[in-house]
Symmetry: C3
Subunit: 230 residues, 3 copies
């Protein structure tokens, strides 16, 4: 089990890195998720309200649903000003410079998004463990934290969730493996700052490798009469 003090430390902002570095990473993660929401809003031809809403939901949605389910209310996503200001900043940047972002920043954006994925699946799982969840429940909330905002973005934009699409390069599976690793480490009393940092890094690396080598999650066999897939 997770020692309460370590848990607190982990949740308050350490996955084994220097706290200020990790806080910076977390804000970068929120920003990058916010940009991804804003870009979808622009593509859908939404107005300023839509850009702000999609940026905020993408950046904070996963964590807010996690906190409502854990009973951590009002959630930090609403009480810490930076949580809400950073998505607003992301919305403003998208609003002003989406053409430039799409032209030059989509590749770096994917790298930061992968960092957010690794970080949030770890911090989400750790938070679930500190609230008494174990095993598969903690894994589920870790994955929800990292991926729920993007699903909310797609639902609000009336698009099929990218997370579920067969042409999507591995995204949910690295998050699930990372959340699982944290949960197993905790079960065996081996969850520490360095472990958490190593898991976040591994999730990041797996996502980057999946992008590089176009790895996809398995699909159901024989989905179509033609018998493709598998």
């Amino acid at each position: 089990m997770l020692a309460p003090q370590l848990a607190l430390q982990l949740v308050q902002g350490s996955v084994g890195l220097d706290p200020s570095i990790e806080q910076a990473l977390e804000l970068i993660g929120i920003f990058v998720f916010g940009v991804s929401g804003g870009l979808v809003a622009v593509r859908k031809d939404f107005d300023l309200v839509g850009v702000i809403a999609l940026a905020s939901v993408t950046a904070l949605g996963g964590g807010l649903i996690r906190d409502a389910l854990l009973g951590d209310t009002p959630p930090p996503g609403l009480t810490e000003p930076s949580s809400l200001l950073v998505p607003l900043l992301a919305a403003a940047v998208v609003f002003a410079a989406h053409v430039q972002i799409e032209r030059r920043w989509l590749r770096p954006h994917l790298v930061f998004d992968a960092a957010g994925l690794g970080l949030f699946c770890v911090t989400g799982t750790v938070k679930a463990l500190t609230f008494g969840l174990t095993g598969i429940g903690a894994v589920a909330l870790g994955v929800l934290t990292a991926t729920g905002g993007g699903v909310g973005r797609d639902v609000l934009a009336q698009e099929e969730p990218v997370l579920f699409r067969a042409d999507t390069v591995l995204y949910g599976i690295p998050a699930a493996l990372g959340a699982g690793a944290i949960t197993v480490a905790n079960h065996y009393g081996r969850l520490s700052g360095p472990t958490a940092a190593a898991v976040a890094t591994a999730v990041f690396a797996l996502r980057i490798a999946a992008l590089r080598f176009a790895w996809h999650a398995p699909r159901p066999r024989n989905r179509r009469p033609t018998g493709e897939g598998g």
Copy 2:
């Protein structure tokens, strides 16, 4: 009003049947709802992540929203391992055998789904009553418990919710009648295990009859210039 002890008993797993039978029914209900979510994911050509996500949301979504609204956090759907393992199992079965399920098991599937509808509208209403809701609030949460997961499934799959469609055979109305019967029985101090079991059975029977005789909910009059409907 519901006596706390009876309430606890009812929520912990008795609607008047042998507890082990009812727990089995509940897991079957979760499994069947999970299969229905997985099949939609296959039809939408989603990957493994989508199959697992839709199976889980369909099986647990209604109960999780109910528990977040009641303040029962973290909810049993996340703390009891079987709640999450059974949807995973349903996802695995769909992933491996969806062709066979669609060919041979869709009719039995509808029967089990009707059993889940009856069971969950009763347990959801009872749980709402134990948390102090009365009247129409308890009915609303009972219906939400039984039908919310399916609506979540359809929203994530970007399809019109089957629950609302005019060509859908009665589904929400049996749940509402069942939730209403439980609430009325509770108001008159007549809510007992056998009553709960009778209501769950009646909801099941009404749903099966609706399937057999193609009963539909009423539709608004004069929806179209041609004046059809009513």
Copy 3:
């Protein structure tokens, strides 16, 4: 900061008007939001279940999500019978008389909807302040209270949220300005009944003016190759 007693008073139903007038306004707001949900359900050719569900989600959804995030559970929207009966009434009226509503009542409907917008952004922000949120978090929940139900309606109807569409006349921005004004007034210790009433009225007036003069929120520049927009 908001004095607890004033806060209680404000939340319990006074934004500076006679309490019975304000309660009447609140029920009218719920009714009008419910009608808007029911009309979308009719247009989508949904059945009675869909009409009731969309009326209820539109009328209560924003407040329910707010309360789940604040931890005010079970929320008043489920415990006060009138909160649920009024959307049912709205659904019944739409079910029976949607043709007449669409022909003759859409303009008055927009006026009442604007009143609901002003009222709910104020009461939602005040409630968030009483639960300890400050600054941007309180503004976010105020806007969510006033607009979240409509977004839920559109998601369930599988339509692009009207709130985000570029052809939508100002809706979210008046709510955000109103929520911001309440938050600023509270910060400077100047939140009182008359202030709250003035803000609600100003939001109402701004929405009506936007309808009259077809004011739109800004859109991202250069969305399309043709270079329109801005």
